[in-house]
């Protein structure tokens, strides 16, 4: 059970937006996580790989920082999916974001912020499929 938390949500969202703007302003790149991960694995140039690895390393460091400041209560953290379901989910998320060229951050934040039609279609599609999947698991099966 989680309770609606609009203020932390809004503050977190603003931080995510700030991160996307900083990445574009400084190195001219989109803060799309799936693309960063895929290209970190496939990039051939050293710089092409290293800025992406630096960003990826920063993600858990950001969580550590928030926890160190005492602003995070991890007690409600829960992973409801079973282990086999987690494996299938991880594979689908990796394959789907690679095929669809983006995830919640790349399409849902950066793409929508540029009013990209592709990102509107992608975001509507993954939102609808996510909602349908949860409906089937929780209310039908």
């Amino acid at each position: 059970m989680t309770s609606f938390a609009p203020i932390p949500g809004l503050i977190g969202g603003i931080l995510i937006g700030l991160s996307a703007v900083i990445l574009m302003l400084t190195i001219g790149r989109t803060a799309g996580i799936s693309g960063i991960v895929v290209n970190a694995m496939t990039a051939t140039g050293a710089m092409d790989r290293s800025w992406r690895l630096a960003f990826i390393v920063g993600l858990p460091l950001g969580a550590l920082l928030v926890a160190a400041l005492g602003w995070k209560d991890w007690s409600s953290l829960a992973f409801p999916a079973t282990m086999p379901m987690t494996v299938i989910a991880g594979f689908l998320v990796g394959a789907g974001t690679t095929l669809g060229s983006g995830c919640t951050s790349g399409h849902g934040i950066c793409g929508l912020a540029r009013f990209s039609v592709r990102s509107v279609v992608a975001t509507a599609t993954f939102m609808a499929c996510g909602i349908a999947t949860v409906f089937i698991i929780r209310h039908i099966i």
Partner: protein, 147 residues
Amino acid sequence: MSLIFSLLAGIIFGAGLTVSDMVNPARVLNFLDLAGHWDPTLIFVIAGGLAVTALGYRLVFRREAPIASEKFQLPAQRQIDSRLIGGSALFGVGWGLAGICPGPALTDLVTLQPKVLVFVAAMLIGMIVTVVWRDKIRPMNAVRQSG
């Protein structure tokens, strides 16, 4: 210098996912569960992120170039194709199964939870398999990953 900028951006992004509790799959699943105890927090995260990014991008794109590189690198793809829709649909199903998308998955590595490690490993395998399929088996056109 670029590395410091992107590390900083990664830290702020991870902090944002943590503060907003998007690192918590239970909360994400409750957002997707419209027919259950619906938790609309994710809408506020997207709204905050979108507002700052849309406004910030407008200001940034007034510049000729970024501070620490030669040019802005934006996705060149324009057409709505089956890969965009099919891929996003697969992603949506996976997101609905576990409540985890790529950013929170990597951020949650800090918890060292076995399910996070397994999810990230499966996600990387899914990415590699798809890259091989896309580039070697069914090359359509040179598509750069944007998101």
